[in-house]
């Protein structure tokens, strides 16, 4: 965070300082602010009523609904996993722990398109389980289950990698005290651990949710792009855009941009409540080295 005005002994002079701040702001303005402004101006280019009409479109609503459903399934599943993984990794010593952390991070190194491909190879009509699924009339790929699976894959590490360092920095003393006072394991978790990790948990959920609702590549591969049925919001944006219906495309996009801004606001609020969360970028292994002992 901003420390007090730096002492001048080694600071480059005023010109260097102005030049550096100027460069940074121009770069961020070009790459962050302008795209954001472009979304909202394009969405409102034809007036507020055109904007509202575009958003009120039934197909847009179907996309919004599907996006909410997918996130409502994917985020809780990854939350349960994140808590379990962080508990095992933070509270116990075992061999292969670093390997496990690397494997949890694996989806970050995989292209979203490959994440989608993977599920086509498994559940597509020519996939490993394609035959069995067809016999039972279950559709996974080009249907909602495939979209959910691809989203879970892509957002898999988010909550775990936020919770692992948070739990590691807290150690096990609180839990051991509760247990020695006669609490059961579950009581200890609900009454001691959960309150301790709640901000980190919320932080992970926030980031996981943003990605789950905004995922494009993986979902695009498995969706089949059936309007009103398997179109999430980002996919709907693409369809509208490719039809040269720019106002509508940017109108739906502006809702996603709003979600992004809300996510950033929530994230900043949580970081303000718990400054350690700020350090939570980069591979988990990095941060474990930095955790306070």
């Amino acid at each position: 965070m901003a420390s007090a005005e730096p002492r001048r002994l080694t600071r480059p002079g005023q010109p260097a300082r102005v030049l550096l701040i100027g460069t940074a702001l121009v770069f961020l303005g070009l790459f962050l602010l302008l795209p954001l402004l472009a979304v909202f101006t394009q969405a409102l280019a034809k007036g507020v009523s055109a904007y509202l009409t575009a958003i009120a479109d039934p197909m847009a609503w179907a996309a919004i609904k599907l996006t909410l459903i997918v996130a409502a399934i994917a985020v809780p599943l990854n939350l349960v996993f994140g808590v379990a993984a962080a508990w095992a990794i933070a509270k116990f010593e075992f061999r292969g722990k670093n390997t496990l952390i690397t494997l949890i991070d694996l989806p970050f190194a995989v292209s979203p398109v490959i994440a989608g491909l993977v599920f086509i190879l498994l559940f597509g009509s020519h996939g490993w389980f394609g035959g069995i699924l067809r016999e039972h009339h279950i559709k996974v790929v080009f249907a909602v289950p495939g979209i959910v699976l691809a989203t879970i894959f892509v957002t898999f590490p988010f909550i775990a990698r936020e919770l692992i360092p948070v739990m590691q920095s807290q150690g096990r003393e609180d839990e051991e005290t509760a247990l020695s006072l006669g609490a059961t394991g579950w009581q200890t978790f609900w009454r001691v651990t959960l309150p301790n990790i709640k901000w980190g948990l919320l932080y992970g959920v926030l980031l996981c949710n943003a990605r789950a609702m905004g995922e494009f590549g993986a979902v695009s591969v498995v969706s089949g792009h059936i309007r009103g049925l398997t179109n999430t919001m980002p996919l709907h944006v693409e369809i509208l855009y490719n039809e040269y219906n720019y106002t509508a495309a940017f109108a739906v996009a502006s809702l996603l941009a709003l979600l992004a801004l809300l996510t950033l606001a929530g994230k900043s609020l949580l970081e303000w409540r718990q400054p350690e969360l700020r350090r939570a970028v980069g591979p988990a292994r990095d941060r474990t080295a930095r955790r306070k002992e």
Binding site: M1, A2, E5, P6, R7, T10, R11, P12, A16, I21, L30, F31, L32, L34, P35, A38, Q42, F81, A84, A85, W87, A88, F92, F94, L100, L106, V110, S111, P112, V113, I114, L117, L121, L122, H126, I152, F153, R172, E176, G185, R211, G214, F216, G217, S220, P234, L235, V237, Y246, F250, A253, L256, A260, T263, L264, A265, S268, R278, V281, P283
Partner: protein, 274 residues
């Protein structure tokens, strides 16, 4: 010492972690590799060495390299400015750095395209200069730079905050100029974080799809990235072709991440930074 395992739940949580990890990540990913084994080596090389595939891989990795290097340069400046200086709206600027994490890639893609298209706010100014960004490889670099920006800034910030200012001051009292102090004292301490940030931005850029396809123009041999070629092959029901390209991409990205990890560990041990 207390008894070894007072805290319960080891078996349950680790077991659940392993099962869920295997079901969602490990088994599905291994499907790609097993499937590619079925292709046979001749067919595999035939697919992978096709000029169009090689061009797309070259483009994906080349553009990602340029974008990640751009991010290292400007990310260092941004991180430095955010840690060392105060200026109006600094908190807001700091929060905005995470926008590429939060903004869906498709939204970023159409927004950047609108900006850099020949009639866009920025494209209009660049077109008379003969610079075309949208629908060229340059546009791909712009999109990938957007996507990778937070990785470098966020890995550098904590390291810069921890940096001991007394070392710089000692360098200054010993007569080092600001530039000398930066190159000799600050930069060596930043190397591991710069490498990590570079690696994360690069890895993310190589696989990126959503933000790129809108701005790229997607011309085979010229502005077609490897992930798009996988999608194209899938749409033509050429599953073996898609799988072969996916395997090459996975092997290259995993290899790169391992190399950067190793390099980082080496830098850590060499400079004795935490």
């Amino acid at each position: 010492m207390r008894a070894r395992r007072v805290v319960p739940g080891f078996g349950l949580t680790l077991g659940y972690t392993m099962v869920y990890l295997s079901l969602i990540v490990l088994i599905p990913l291994s499907a790609v590799f097993i499937r590619s084994l079925g292709l046979g080596s001749t067919h595999f090389w035939e697919v992978v060495s096709a000029p169009r595939v090689l061009a797309s891989l070259r483009l994906s990795f080349g553009a990602s390299l340029i974008a990640a290097l751009t991010n290292v340069m400007f990310g260092l400046i941004v991180a430095w400015v955010l840690v060392r200086y105060t200026f109006p709206f600094k908190r807001l600027v700091d929060a905005m750095v995470d926008l590429p994490f939060a903004l869906p890639t498709a939204v970023a893609g159409i927004a950047l395209t609108a900006l850099y298209a020949p009639n866009g706010w920025l494209g209009r100014g660049l077109a008379p200069l003969g610079i075309n960004v949208a629908f060229t490889p340059l546009g791909i670099v712009v999109a990938l730079t957007f996507i990778g920006l937070p990785f470098v800034v966020r890995t550098l910030q904590p390291v810069l905050e921890d940096l001991d200012k007394e070392v710089e001051q000692a360098a200054a009292t010993l007569g080092a100029s600001a530039v000398q102090a930066f190159v000799r004292v600050i930069l060596p301490a930043l190397w591991p974080a710069l490498l990590t940030g570079f690696g994360l931005a690069f890895a993310r850029a190589v696989g990126e799809y959503g933000s790129v396809i809108f701005i790229a123009g997607n011309m085979p041999m010229r502005s077609e990235i490897a992930p798009l070629l996988i999608v194209t092959k899938l749409e033509q029901y050429d599953y073996s072709g898609a799988t072969a390209i996916a395997v090459v991409m996975l092997v290259l990205s995993f290899g790169l991440m391992l190399a950067i990890n190793a390099l980082q560990n080496w830098a850590l041990s060499r400079h004795g930074v935490r």
